[in-house]
């Protein structure tokens, strides 16, 4: 795949990639943009190479996931006050908005509930229900076996069922 083809592929799935980046960054818009941009640069500069073993989307999502993990480490340095070693971006953030104001209450509550789930369960639910991936594809993105992905999936659904029930009871 040459540069133009890569760029076209990235652009084609940009919206869903952003959604995945948001999910990997606890819906922090700035961090998601950083992660996505870094992942794209990695792909375009050839630091991450697509070898055709899986679909382009699956491969790109695993690059984004890995980049988000790097970003979390950077965030950890930032917390320790070592921002200059963490490659802190200077200047104003372009994407300061985290939660869109036009989200309805139900979706807002749902998003909050999602944050209560363990990371792996949240990831697999996102990949299956948001990205319409199969469990096999989700396991490839997450770098786990399909059996493990299935376990996270079932536990995640059970957890969400309980959280939704609790919310419904609280709201009457």
């Amino acid at each position: 795949m040459d540069d133009i083809e890569l760029r076209n592929e990235l652009e084609k799935i940009h919206a869903v990639s952003y959604g995945w980046a948001l999910s990997c960054c606890s819906h922090d818009g700035n961090e998601a943009s950083d992660v996505l941009q870094t992942a794209y640069v990695k792909v375009l500069e050839g630091r991450a190479r697509y070898k055709g073993r899986s679909s382009f989307k699956t491969w790109l999502f695993s690059v984004i996931r890995y980049t988000a993990a790097e970003e979390r480490r950077r965030h950890w340095f930032r917390r320790l006050g070592l921002a200059k070693f963490a490659g802190e971006r200077s200047g104003e953030d372009m994407f300061a908005e985290d939660i869109p104001p036009d989200l309805d209450d139900k979706t807002r509550e749902f998003r909050k509930s999602l944050e209560k789930l363990p990371g792996r369960q949240r990831e697999v639910l996102h990949l299956v229900f948001y990205q319409d991936m199969t469990l096999e594809e989700a396991s490839a993105v997450m770098g786990v076996s399909i059996g493990s992905a299935r376990t996270h999936y079932e536990r995640g659904k059970k957890g969400m069922r309980n959280l939704i029930k609790t919310q419904e009871n609280e709201n009457g």
Partner: protein, 123 residues
């Protein structure tokens, strides 16, 4: 809520999030045009870590050397004290090794001399 219900619910709720995210998503061009995110540089961190490790090693070595010198000094002092020690009866040992070739005079030697003179009848 059965298995299918939760699947439907999740699908619809995630649909809501997806719609909101797509409204919020920056365009591909805009994202690529923004200032590049800093890359994580571990080199300065490694330099700091190496400096700290070297300092700790040097400090430990210096501390060990100081402790070693102090112990050596204490031991030397101890040995000096032991080698300089004399018992109160050491004088007796000195006397016992003196030469008894007649040069040693005791208090009663005078009497011996007197008795000798007397035997010659010089008195």
């Amino acid at each position: 809520m059965d298995k299918n219900d939760i699947d439907k619910d999740l699908k619809s709720l995630y649909g809501g999030i997806r719609a909101a995210d797509s409204r919020k998503a920056p365009s591909f061009e805009r994202l690529m045009a923004r200032p590049a995110a800093g890359t994580m540089s571990f080199a300065p961190m490694l330099r700091i870590a190496a400096a700290v490790a070297i300092s700790v090693c040097a400090g430990t070595m210096a501390l060990q050397m100081c402790q070693k010198t102090a112990v050596q000094e204490i031991q030397q002092e101890k040995w000096a004290n032991i080698s300089g020690w004399e018992a109160s009866t050491d004088n007796l040992l000195t006397m016992s090794t003196s030469n008894f070739d007649g040069s040693l005079a005791t208090g009663t030697d005078v009497w011996l001399e007197y008795s000798g003179t007397n035997s010659k009848g010089s008195l």
